[in-house]
């Protein structure tokens, strides 16, 4: 357990024997129990790529005000047990690693970037002079202010040790080296067109980087990882929503009165059902994305990967269902 900033903490986890190993940049689902109920969230792994059966991995968690999972993870004591999913995501450095890289991390978006850098640092140490000479990595690290920069000190020390690594720390509260725009980025990295670009962070940052890349014709070299903000908790009725049925492989438009079950049936689908009043659970299905409101309990479900009862759920946004 390492405190990185006032609200960010790195948790070192010891996966079980069946841990399949991960590649730097991937994320993993973490499950904690909060007041009896399990909560699942995805976090980027901040430690470098590790082989099958690795003894340790790390995640770096920023505490979100009012966030159930991040608060619980910050309250964990040493030795606590958390559920660990399978590492996933294709935000990874392809082998062989391109000689010229630009890595951009904003806020907690620096975590997968850090994993990549740690990997690069480890492998460079053992490689030939020739390989070392050709490599050039530029990291742009955006944060609100110097105190808020996750891994700020570690990045600085890496930069002093490795000649191929250049770090640009940007702080939103500074005028001189504040938030970058597309033009600023092109000036800062003149050879942008030659670089493989990885960006992770808030939507605004991703927009800036993709814009700059488009300007120099390198859009195809941009790899991005968006940290998905939870869907809006709006409970206003919506006219019609698109429901993607993942298993059936079709998208249907759900509209008109009544709960999702009735809407899906009107759209020609035949989900399993029983009581149609929310007690028997025959129509329970996994909602992968989107917001629904349970009319029997008034509970609004907007987190990804939650089970819902179709017969008492009103759609409040476009949905993805495991049907």
């Amino acid at each position: 357990m390492i405190d990185e900033t006032a609200d960010t903490r790195t948790l070192v986890l010891a996966p079980g024997r069946r841990w399949p190993g991960h590649r730097a940049g991937q994320y993993v689902a973490i499950e904690v129990e909060v007041d009896g109920a399990r909560v699942r969230r995805s976090y980027s792994i901040s430690s470098g790529g590790a082989a099958r059966g690795a003894r340790r991995i790390a995640i770096t968690v920023r505490r979100v005000p009012g966030g159930v999972a991040s608060t619980a993870l910050h309250q964990l004591r040493r030795g606590a047990v958390v559920g660990l999913g399978t590492p996933a995501g294709d935000f990874v450095l392809d082998a062989p690693v391109a000689p010229k890289l630009l890595l951009v991390g904003g806020g907690s978006g620096i975590t997968p970037i850090m994993a990549m850098l740690r990997n690069l640092a480890d492998s460079r140490r053992s490689e030939t002079m020739r390989g070392r000479a050709r490599q050039s990595v530029i990291v742009i690290h955006g944060s609100r202010n110097a105190d808020d920069a996750i891994f700020g000190a570690e990045l600085a020390s890496l930069a002093t040790r490795f000649a191929w690594l250049q770090i640009h720390a940007r702080h939103d509260d500074e005028t001189e080296r504040g938030r970058l725009d597309a033009h600023g980025l092109r000036t800062l990295v003149p050879d942008l067109a030659d670089r493989e670009i990885f960006v992770c962070g808030p939507l605004g940052l991703i927009d800036v980087v993709t814009q700059a890349a488009r300007d120099v014709g390198a859009l195809h070299r941009v790899h991005q990882e968006r940290f998905v903000a939870p869907a809006s908790r709006s409970t206003t009725a919506v006219e019609a929503v698109t429901v993607a049925l993942i298993r059936t492989g079709v998208d249907v438009v759900a509209s008109g009165p009544g709960p999702l079950l009735a809407q899906l049936e009107r759209a020609g689908q035949h989900p399993a059902f029983g009581c149609r009043m929310g007690i028997c659970r025959s129509c329970r299905c996994r909602k992968l994305r989107g917001t629904v409101e349970n009319t029997a309990t008034g509970v609004v479900s907007s987190e990804p990967d939650q089970d819902i009862l179709l017969c008492v759920s009103l759609a409040r946004s476009d949905l993805e269902l495991a049907l």
Partner: protein, 394 residues
């Protein structure tokens, strides 16, 4: 005797009644948390220890004392597993925890009834169409005449014996109930459909029989007969107990049956009223309630089938208070009283309504060696079936 009759409610009153119960439900939902999970995991642990200890005593012991103790522990573990864990988990009472071991759709219980069948027949039929004649197949499990509102058939004269047999073989009764054997016999279901329905039951039953009567006895080597007999008795104890609790929950005097006509335009409040009057509670101590999977709070269970059952005691106080304000009977009594009431009805309804009352009553007295009905019970709530009402107040 005290007659607890229920006041008929105007639609607006029934709506208000329903909203008050909805509020009870909402309060509990908002309060669900660690203690509910701790409770059920505690029971899971108890079942595991009880199961291992009971089997160890049966396997290792040679004397009758460890045999009796082993049967009691294994039987108790099976009872707790079936009733407090299996039944309640499969209702979805713990789905909110997200714990795969407490997941309603994935749970498997230690008895022969197929889980998918049961989830459908119990959760989607019995709990929705509770006590509606012709729609709730759990009324006397389609072959017992538990109320004078059901038509009489000559074979019903054997129902006291049939009920005893069902009690001894209750798990098989539940498993067979879900294959709709009665419908095939009556020609309403093809035998091909029956075979399709029976396939998962046969599979599950095969595993159960192999586990209790082949694998475990084989492991016990020379102690095989003792282990097989112990497992048989443990299953039997569980059967008797489950039968007793479940029959007391639905078939004592005072429980109402409904015509499909009556329930056609049912609103939420009416649905709650039907659940209330279609069920009966047992007044007992905490251990009894846990051992019965809290089905001794059958009324609360039917009002709120998906709230964790261990919450029923605290809910019961609120439900009783609401019922009192709306002038609704709340059918509860001691186990002995409720069970005697079930037995009386089973004997009395074995005969057609035209049988002379002195005849049915004397048969009941001989078979049950009971005092005349009416004096034994403190609470005798309203009864819909006229024949029963007059008999009970005689």
């Amino acid at each position: 005797m005290i007659a607890h009759s229920s006041k008929p409610l105007l639609p607006a009153e029934a709506d208000r009644f329903g909203r008050e119960l909805d509020a009870v439900r909402a309060r509990v939902l908002a309060d669900l948390g660690q203690r509910d999970v701790d409770h059920i995991r505690g029971v899971v642990r108890l079942v595991r220890y009880g199961d291992v200890a009971g089997r160890a005593l049966l396997h290792a012991g040679v004397d009758p004392l460890t045999f009796a103790l082993g049967v009691a522990m294994l039987g108790g573990a099976k009872i707790l597993e079936n009733m407090e864990i299996g039944h309640n988990v499969m209702h979805g009472q713990y789905d909110w925890t997200g714990d795969p071991e407490l997941d309603s759709q994935r749970y498997e219980w230690d008895m022969v009834a197929d889980e998918d069948h049961w989830r459908r027949s119990h959760n989607a039929e019995h709990h929705v169409f509770t006590n509606i004649l012709g729609r709730d197949r759990d009324i006397g499990y389609t072959f017992l005449r538990v109320s004078a509102a059901q038509p009489w058939h000559p074979l019903h004269v054997f129902q006291p014996a049939a009920a005893v047999a069902l009690a001894l073989l209750f798990q098989w009764g539940i498993a067979l109930h879900d294959v709709h054997l009665d419908e095939s016999l009556a020609g309403r279901q093809s035998f091909a459909a029956l075979r399709r329905r029976a396939a998962p039951v046969l599979r599950k039953a095969g595993w159960q029989l192999a586990k209790d009567y082949l694998v475990f006895p084989a492991v016990a080597l020379w102690n095989a007969p003792r282990v097989a007999l112990g497992n048989l008795l443990a299953n039997g104890v569980r059967n008797l107990w489950a039968f007793a609790i479940i029959f007391c929950g639905h078939f004592p005097e005072g429980v109402r049956l409904y015509d499909p006509e009556q329930t056609r335009d049912e609103r939420r409040g009416d649905w709650y009223l039907r659940q209330l009057h279609g069920s009966a509670n047992i007044t007992a101590r905490r251990a009894f309630h846990v051992l019965s999977g809290h089905l001794s709070y059958q009324i609360e269970h039917h009002l709120f089938p998906d709230l964790p059952a261990a919450r029923y005691p605290e809910i019961a106080a609120q439900v009783q208070e609401i019922c009192a304000r709306y002038g609704q009977a709340y059918n509860t009594g001691r186990f002995s009283a409720q069970f005697a009431s079930v037995a009386r009805l089973l004997v009395r309804n074995a005969f057609p309504a035209v049988a002379p009352r002195w005849f049915t009553r004397s048969v009941a007295r001989v078979l049950l060696r009971a005092r005349p009905p009416g004096r034994a019970r403190a609470h005798a709530p309203a009864v819909t079936a006229p024949a029963e009402a007059s008999a009970a107040s005689a």
